[in-house]
Amino acid sequence: MTKSYPVGGRFGEFGGQFVPETLVPALQELERAYLRWKGDVGFRAELASMLKEYAGRPTPLYFARNLTERAGGAKIFLKREDLLHGGAHKINNTLGQGLLAKRMGKHRVIAETGAGQHGVATAIACAALGLKAEVYMGSVDIERQKLNAYRMELLGAQLHSVTSGSRTLKDAINEALRDWASNVSTTYYLIGSVVGPHPYPVIVRDFQSVIGKEIREQMRRREGRLPDAVVACVGGGSNAIGSFHEFVEKRGVKLVGVEAGGAGRGRNAASLAEGRKGVLHGMLTYVLEDEDGQIRETQSVSAGLDYPGVGPEHSYLKESGRATYVTAGDKEAIVAFHLLAEVEGILPALESAHAVACAVKMARSMKKDQTVVVTLSGRGDKDVQIVAKEAGVRL
C-alpha cells in the first residue's frame, strides 16, 4: 500500500507540491538529498546513535495494568514517547532532519511550532548538532505556552512571534514558508509534522516510523504477536503515522487516529471528520474551510492538535479505509488526563490524552485476551496550567 515511496509525491490523490515556484527547486533538492542519505550507512548509524544515546530510544512499551482493569476489556499498552528527551516524540524527526540539513550544508534551520513541542525539539536538535535555529510561533500560542517559548530561547533558538492571520500554528507555517522562499539557498525548513509539500510528509513519516517498529518488536517479545489495535492522536498526524506505518500492511491490526473534537460540531480541529478536500500549506488533503474555500479557525484544548489540515497520508488511509478516524472532545481528553494520572501515575500531554480516551473506550468493547497499544506522544507537564484552569483551580 503506502509502504513504499509515494509516486509523484502523492498518496492516492493526496499530497503534491502546491507551493510558489521559488520553492519548487528547493523541494527537488531536498528530495534528492533525502533519497541519497536515507540509506547511507554512516547517516543511519549517526541517527541511530543520537536516538539511543541522546534522545533515549528505545522507549518502553508499558503494560498499563490499572488502566486495563479500569476499562475492563482488552489489555492496554502505553508506548512511552513522553519519556524521550524534550518530552515528546518530536525529537525523532528533528534529529533526523537536523542531520539531513547538516549533510546538505545548510546551517540555518527554521521551524514552525504550535504548542511549542516541535520548536523545543528543533532547538534541542540544533543545539546538539551545532546548527542555528529560528522558530516561528503564533503570538496567541506564545501567550498560551509561555514556558515553552522561553525554553526555546534558553536552548539557543531565536523566536519569531507571528502576528498575522489567526496567530496560531497555521500562520506560523505560512510565515516559515515565506522565510524559506526569501532565504532558500542558506536555509533548511525543518517541518514538524507529516504535512506540507512533498517530500516532507514522507520524510517525517520515515523518521517517526521508529515508533511503530519498536511497538512491533516489543509486542512480539512480550505477547508473541501483533497488537489488535494501535491508537494515536492526530493533529498534523506525525506520531500517528509513526505508530501506524509499520502495521499498514498487517491487515489484522486496527489503526485508529483520534482527532480533536474540541467543544463540538463546528468548534473543533477535526479535519478528517468534518473537513473537505482542499489545498493548504502545499498539500492536497482534508481541511477545515468555509464554503468559499477560506481556511477556518480551529478550536481545541490542546494546542498541538489545533490545526485545520492533516497529513495527506492520513487522508489517504481514511479514504482507502485502512485506518479509522474518530474524535475525542476537550472534556473527554481532560477526563482521560486525570484518569491516567490517578491510576498509572503518568501525566500525558493533552494531545495524547485524546488517544487515551479513545483507547479506554475501545478496550471496553474488546475481549480480555486482545491488546490495544496507545501512543503517549508527549508528557503533560506543559499542560498542567490548562488542566488546573479547566478544574477551576488557581495555582
Binding site: E21, T22, P25, K170, R178, S182, S185, G278, E291, I295
Partner: protein, 269 residues
C-alpha cells in the same frame, strides 16, 4: 489571440505593459470599484485582480493586510468576480485574476474557471500552482479559453525556464526576487541579468512581465530596458489604498491614479 496577448501586441516599439494589481474588495467592495477606476484612468494596460485568501503564503505584509481588510469587509470570491465584470464592461481592460489554488479547488476548478470567464476574466495567476501541478489543469484552461499565467523565479533552472515559457499563456510572470511580494527600495542585484536570461526563453514565444518588489518609476524603466515586455506592480498600489478613509476618499483615489500614471509613463522609457 487572448485579450491579454492583444494588450501586449498593441504596445508601441520599446513600450512595456503595466500590469496593476488591486486586491479585490479592498478596503471594501464598493470602494474597490473606485480604486479600479483610478488604476485604469492612470493607464494600467492589464488589471490584475486579487481574490483575498486566508493563507496567502506568497504575499508579504502589504498584500496580507489588504486581504484582511477585504475579508473583514465581507468580500467573497463571487463579489470579486462581479468587480471583474464591472471593470470589463466599463473599461474594456483585460483582467487577470490572482488568487490561491484552494479558492478554485473548493468550487471545482473548471466550474470556478467558467464562472470567472463568464465574468470577463481573461487570465488566472495562481502562485501556489506551479508548473507540475498546473499541467493537470492546462487542458481545462485551454478549453474554457482563459490564459493560465505561470510564474518563474530566480531559483528556476534553465531547463525549467524553457518549459515554463512554452507552457504559460498570456505572459510569463517572472518573480524578480527571492521571497514574497512587497515594495523594495531598490531592485535586487541580479534582477536585470535574470530578466535577460529569462528573455532568451520567452523571446518570440510569449511576453515576459516582471513583478515582486517593483515600486518606483525608475525600477520600471530599468526592467523594461533590460528586455521585459511588462511590469507588475502590486504592493505599492495596495499601500496607497491602505490609507483609504471615507473622509479622504478623493485624495487617496487621486494619489493612486497619479502613481499609476507615473508608472505607465516609465514603461515608455
Amino acid at each position: 489571440m487572448s485579450e491579454i496577448s492583444k494588450s501586449f501586441a498593441g504596445l508601441a516599439e520599446r513600450e512595456g505593459a503595466l500590469v496593476a494589481y488591486v486586491m479585490g474588495g479592498d478596503p471594501d467592495p464598493d470602494a474597490c470599484s473606485k480604486v479600479i477606476d483610478a488604476v485604469v484612468a492612470g493607464g494600467a494596460d492589464i488589471l490584475e485582480l486579487g481574490i483575498p485568501f486566508s493563507d496567502p503564503i506568497a504575499d508579504g505584509k502589504s498584500i496580507q493586510a489588504a486581504a484582511v481588510r477585504a475579508l473583514s469587509a465581507g468580500t467573497t470570491p463571487r463579489r470579486v468576480l462581479e468587480l471583474a465584470k464591472n471593470a470589463k464592461e466599463k473599461h474594456h481592460v483585460p483582467v487577470a485574476l490572482m488568487t490561491y489554488f484552494n479558492i478554485f479547488y473548493s468550487q471545482g476548478f473548471e466550474n470556478f474557471l467558467r464562472l470567472a470567464k463568464s465574468h470577463g476574466v481573461d487570465g488566472i495567476i495562481i502562485p501556489d500552482l506551479p508548473l507540475d501541478e498546473a499541467s493537470r489543469y492546462a487542458r481545462i484552461s485551454r478549453r474554457v479559453g482563459v490564459d493560465n499565467i505561470l510564474l518563474a523565479a530566480p531559483t528556476t533552472p534553465a531547463g525549467r525556464m524553457r518549459m515554463l515559457a512554452s507552457n504559460t499563456s498570456g505572459f510569463l510572470y517572472l518573480v524578480s526576487i527571492l521571497g514574497v511580494t512587497g515594495a523594495r527600495r531598490s531592485l535586487r542585484r541580479g534582477t536585470l541579468t535574470l530578466i535577460a536570461d529569462a528573455h532568451r526563453y520567452t523571446r518570440d514565444k510569449v511576453p515576459l512581465a516582471v513583478g515582486f518588489g517593483i515600486s518606483a518609476p525608475e525600477h520600471v524603466r530599468e526592467v523594461i530596458r533590460a528586455g521585459a515586455d511588462g511590469v507588475i506592480v502590486g504592493s505599492s498600489i495596495v499601500d496607497r489604498v491602505a490609507d483609504y478613509r471615507e473622509n479622504k476618499r478623493a485624495k487617496v483615489l487621486q494619489n493612486v491614479e497619479e502613481y499609476v500614471r507615473s508608472l505607465k509613463a516609465a514603461t515608455r522609457g
